[in-house]
C-alpha cells in the first residue's frame, strides 16, 4: 500500500494538485457540481421508481436522465481521483473515506441489479405504471446509498486520518 501511495504522490496529477494555485479548490467545486448532477437525477429517477409522480413523470423518463447521472458520476470520479492522488496517505487510512468508497461500490452494484434484472421489465410497462416491489427496493437502496455517499464524503475533511 505504501508503494501505491508513493506512486500516486508522484503522478503528474498529484503535482498539479500540489503546485497549481487553487487546483484543489477548483476540483472541490467541480466535485460538488458533479454530485448535484448525479444525485439530482437519481432523486427524480428513484422517486419515480418508489411510486411518486406516477401520473406526471413517465417511467421511461428514467432513461432520458441516465446520461446526465453518468456525466455527474464521471466528473466526480475524475476530481475524486485527483484528490486521492495528492493526498493518498491521508485518504486511505481514513475510515470515513473507506465507508464512502464502500457505499459507492454498493450503489454501483445496486445500479447493475437495476440494469440487468429490472430494466427490460420496466421498458415494457406503460408510462404511468407502478413497478414491482423488487424495483422499488432498488430505488430505495439507491437513494439511501447515495445520501450516505454525500454524508461520508462531506465529513472526510473534518474526520481526519488516525
Amino acid at each position: 500500500m505504501e508503494n501505491f501511495i508513493a506512486w500516486m504522490a508522484g503522478t503528474w496529477v498529484a503535482h498539479i494538485m500540489r503546485d497549481v494555485r487553487f487546483a484543489w479548490a477548483w476540483c472541490e467545486t467541480f466535485h460538488f457540481i458533479g454530485l448535484c448532477m448525479l444525485c439530482g437525477t437519481i432523486i427524480v429517477m428513484d422517486a419515480r421508481l418508489l411510486g411518486f409522480f406516477r401520473k406526471s413523470i413517465s417511467l421511461h423518463a428514467v432513461h432520458a436522465l441516465t446520461p446526465y447521472a453518468i456525466i455527474g458520476f464521471l466528473l466526480n470520479l475524475t476530481t475524486g481521483l485527483a484528490f486521492i492522488a495528492r493526498d493518498a496517505d491521508n485518504y486511505f487510512p481514513n475510515p470515513d473515506f473507506q465507508f464512502k468508497i464502500l457505499f459507492i461500490l454498493l450503489a454501483g452494484l445496486n445500479f447493475l441489479v437495476f440494469w440487468f434484472v429490472f430494466r427490460k421489465q420496466i421498458e415494457k410497462l406503460p408510462d404511468d405504471a407502478d413497478v414491482g416491489i423488487g424495483a422499488k427496493l432498488v430505488g430505495l437502496s439507491s437513494i439511501t446509498l447515495w445520501c450516505l455517499v454525500i454524508v461520508t464524503g462531506r465529513l472526510i475533511p473534518v474526520w481526519g486520518s488516525g
Binding site: T29, G40, S58, L65, Y68, I150, L155
Partner: protein, 165 residues
C-alpha cells in the same frame, strides 16, 4: 456589528456548533444533502426546460420545485446554525457574501420561473415550456446555483477580510 456577531457565537447554538463534533457533523451532512436536493433537482427542472426528458410532464415540474424548496429549508436551517457558530469569520468573508447574494438571486429566479413558466404550463399552457424565456431562465438558474456552489466552496480559500479570520 461585531458585538452582535460575538453574541451569536457565544449563544447556545453557536457553542453547540463549535464545541460539539456531532452537532457540526450533523449540520454539514444536512447542508450537503440539502444542496443536492436544491441544486440537483433544479438541474433536472432546467434540463426539462432545455428539452431533455420531455416525458417529464408539465404537471411534475411545480412538484419538483416544491421538493427543492424542502431542500432549501434544510439548507437555510443548517446554514444559519453553521453561520452562528462562526459568525465573525463568515460575515467578514467576501466569498460567503457572494454565496448569500447568489442564494437570494436563486430564490427569486426560482419563484419567477414557477410563476411565469411552470405553473402556467401545469395549468395547460404547454407552449410556456418551449419558449425562449423558459430556456433563458433555465440556463440562468443553473448558472446561479453553480455560482452558489463555487462561492460556498471558496469561502475556505479566498475572500477573508484581513484581521477577521
Amino acid at each position: 456589528m461585531s458585538t452582535f456577531l460575538d453574541s451569536l457565537e457565544s449563544s447556545a447554538i453557536g457553542t453547540w456548533v463549535t464545541q460539539s463534533p456531532a452537532g457540526f457533523y450533523i449540520l454539514l451532512a444536512f447542508h450537503a444533502v440539502g444542496m443536492a436536493m436544491v441544486v440537483g433537482v433544479m438541474m433536472v427542472v432546467s434540463l426539462r426546460l432545455l428539452g431533455v426528458a420531455r416525458n417529464i410532464s408539465a404537471s411534475a415540474l411545480p412538484k419538483l420545485v416544491n421538493f427543492s424548496w424542502v431542500g432549501f429549508f434544510i439548507n437555510a436551517v443548517s446554514g444559519i446554525c453553521l453561520f452562528i457558530g462562526e459568525a465573525n469569520k463568515m460575515f467578514n468573508n467576501w466569498s460567503f457574501r457572494w454565496k448569500i447574494f447568489f442564494v437570494a438571486v436563486g430564490m427569486i429566479s426560482t419563484y419567477i420561473m414557477s410563476r411565469t413558466i411552470l405553473k402556467p404550463a401545469a395549468a395547460g399552457d404547454i407552449s410556456k415550456l418551449n419558449s425562449q424565456s423558459a430556456k433563458f431562465q433555465a440556463i440562468f438558474l443553473m448558472l446561479v446555483w453553480v455560482g452558489v456552489i463555487c462561492a460556498g466552496r471558496w469561502i475556505a480559500y479566498i475572500g477573508q477580510i484581513e484581521g477577521t479570520g
